[in-house]
Symmetry: C2
Subunit: 137 residues, 2 copies
Amino acid sequence: MNPGRCAACRYLRRRCPPDCIFSPYFPPNNPQRFVSIHRIYGASNVAKLLQQLPSHLRTQAADSLYLEAQYRIEDPVYGCVGLISLLQQQIHDVERQLAMTQAEIAFRARHPQAVESNLLNNVGNPSFSNQASSWFM
Amino acid sequence: MNPGRCAACRYLRRRCPPDCIFSPYFPPNNPQRFVSIHRIYGASNVAKLLQQLPSHLRTQAADSLYLEAQYRIEDPVYGCVGLISLLQQQIHDVERQLAMTQAEIAFRARHPQAVESNLLNNVGNPSFSNQASSWFM
């Protein structure tokens, strides 16, 4: 076995040519990286994708393909689309929390006396935020 | 040409068998859907992925594979990992804005006189939020 072969050529049991398309992005010390993307995309699809890019962008492409392959192996139904849905839900939740907090500020600006007594105890209390925003929104 | 063939079998120029793995998820009226995933994953990898799933989860898997393929075609370097980075940045920004707004509420609760005069004019003004949060954080 030639110890200089990249992880892809080792996995594919072939000679690793000097201009191997995989070699710079799949070093022999990390065989799992190629196994994952081979399982999801197949070697020829990855080679085609890398070949169509300028060489200074291929590392990023190999990294992102590896990440997507990992997500797909962990979640064969949704892959990284599952993570995208989760992040979109998280943004929605934080934006809603922000809108409620801004509504609380606006309410307090207009009704300083009404909330004066509860203020110091209720800052950051979600039920107070909900109440203030329901008055205002 | 058999008009009953699914988009995959039409594209692959083959007979569409009654138990075709692609047929329920790649109808003939949407040929682009199969073209996209074939370009990124290859037909045999998609068939393998669908076959390993119970049939009630295959529609979601075909949909998410199509979405990922579309992202990769639009952005061959980052694919949907680019969108994930963007969403993570967006969450970071909204969380930061939320923390500043909460700091503003806390500051106002502790210093009602100091901000009284500017309050009605400055609610929602980012420079005021920055100032209040820098006092407090």
